[in-house]
């Protein structure tokens, strides 16, 4: 099965799923196709390339947070591996 994902700018590091996708699903992002490594709920983010721990992620030209661990392409990106630059809580890595 194929699920579509929405990308704001071509240089974005994440795209947003437009439907729930199970792990292993084929994700279609503009001209690119990627395999979801995790189950990803609708409107949650998928990594479009390998991201290193400490990298700042961008969406639509804006920073949206920093990776707290290495995130492989196709992985679910959310609060378990992304932290706000303004967060005051202890990071769980």
């Amino acid at each position: 099965m194929t699920t579509r994902a929405h990308i704001v700018r071509p240089d974005d590091m994440v795209a947003y799923l437009l439907a729930d996708a199970p792990a292993g699903a084929s994700i279609e992002i503009a001209a690119q196709t990627l395999t979801a490594r995790d189950a990803i709920p609708v409107f949650h983010k998928i990594a479009l390339r390998d991201i290193a721990a400490g990298e700042t992620l961008h969406r639509g030209g804006w920073p949206v947070g920093r990776a707290t661990q290495d995130i492989p392409a196709g992985a679910h990106v959310h609060v378990h591996n992304l932290v706000s630059a303004y967060s005051t809580s202890k990071e769980t890595t």
């Binding site: 409107f43 804006w62 920073p63 609060v79 706000s84």
Partner: protein, 387 residues
């Protein structure tokens, strides 16, 4: 867009025309809340708003509270006002405001009825009935869209808000600013991370400084209270829906403001001095945010949501829109505009034209679902403790 150059409104002798011609029952003191609600309930079509507070408010808190009540008392959408209060002090302040705006009103205080709330209700209902009868004879007339003042809010956002619903409002903001109208955006904590971009669009360096300061003050407030924004903003529902950080939410939220210059950063409840795009430094929680917009004089609220949000202003018709197709499907009596096609096969430009037509229809009298369902309320922010 020639069919959207005008809307049917109610001209006022002072200020912008109304898009409604409400009788407002304004409760001016906390002691009279139940009494004022009884009066409003007895007058079909009357709108209730007011405060649960009164004596002992001091300094900035008292000043903001009075300014907000006065802003509601003289709101463009109110054709006449019944002012109800316990004591003459607060009533006199509101009387001065409605007289300056040349708005028909009656003012009744418990001081006038030997503290008999039933007698006060009886008199207020009789006087209110006369005002309602007068208002019912007035018909709206064509007004230029440059008279429109729209305020934008988002509530219970999910990523679809930042991807489509808020950018759609950005198009509406640019359209109305170019047409000579006014647009207001608040929720200062949701400018976080975008201050540089916003400051670059400020009409003056002072406005740019005010934008940065407003954000830093909110952030300092969270830090001083030991609150991590994660869980507060974004809140638990935002996070479950897929928003991971405040800057992800904020950079989607500010897209509401379009691309035109930012003319001023207004204090809570303050009115803009000129048309164009304005920001209000205010709390993000919708009830207090919307009341700040209303007191500023906004006639209509455009409210984007991801998961659904039933909250509406009592005085300003609140148009709900979402780009989440499931939310639009699941909340047919809440969502006024389904923007989900923006994430499928429609362009934002195309949808913006359709939305502008709906804004015009609502400005001209068509009900929002919130008005039909009676969801409206007003809640004035507090800025300190009372004595």
């Amino acid at each position: 867009m020639s069919d959207t150059d005008t809307f049917l409104g109610y001209p006022r002798s002072h200020g912008r025309p109304g898009i409604r011609n409400h009788l407002l029952v304004l409760n001016c003191t906390g002691l009279t809340d139940a009494t004022a609600r009884r009066v409003a309930a007895a007058l079909p079509g009357a709108v209730f708003a007011g405060t649960m507070y009164g004596m002992g408010m001091v300094g900035a808190d008292a000043a903001f509270h009075t300014a907000t009540l006065a802003g509601m008392a003289t709101h463009p959408n109110c054709g006449a006002v019944v002012l109800i209060g316990a004591d003459r002090t607060r009533l006199e302040q509101m009387i001065a405001a409605v007289e300056a705006a040349d708005r028909p009103f009656v003012a009744l205080g418990l001081d006038d009825t030997r503290h008999d709330a039933q007698l006060l209700s009886q008199r207020a209902i009789a006087e209110g009935a006369r005002l309602l009868r007068d208002l019912s004879g007035v018909r709206p007339v064509p007004c230029p869209v440059s008279d429109l003042f729209l305020a934008f809010e988002c509530g219970l956002s999910d990523p679809s808000s930042g991807l489509a619903a808020n950018p759609l409002l950005g198009h509406v903001a640019d359209w109305l600013v170019d047409a000579g109208g006014s647009v207001l955006v608040g929720e200062s904590i949701e400018w976080l991370g975008t201050e540089d971009e916003l400051a670059n669009r400020a009409a003056t360096p002072e406005v740019g400084t005010a934008i940065r300061r407003a954000v830093q003050d909110r952030l300092a407030m969270a830090n001083a209270a030991g609150v991590d924004l994660l869980g507060t903003n974004p809140n638990a529902a935002n996070i479950k829906a897929g928003l991971s950080t405040i800057e992800e939410k904020a950079s989607g939220a500010v897209l509401k403001a379009g691309t035109r210059p930012i003319r001023s950063v207004l204090a809570y409840a303050a009115a803009p001095a000129e048309p164009g795009l304005h920001f209000m430094d205010a709390p993000a929680y919708s009830p207090e945010s919307l009341t700040g917009f209303v007191a500023s004089g906004a006639q209509m609220i455009l409210f984007t949501t991801g998961l659904g949000n039933s909250y509406c202003s009592a005085l300003a018709p609140t148009l709900k829109l979402t780009a989440n197709a499931a939310t639009a499907r699941n909340l047919p009596c809440q969502i006024d505009f389904d923007a989900s096609a923006a994430l499928a096969d429609r362009t934002l430009e195309d949808l913006a034209q359709e939305l502008v037509a709906q804004i015009n229809a609502i400005a001209s009298g068509q009900y929002t679902y919130g008005e039909i369902m009676g969801e409206g309320a007003e809640s004035i922010s507090r800025f300190g403790a009372a004595i």
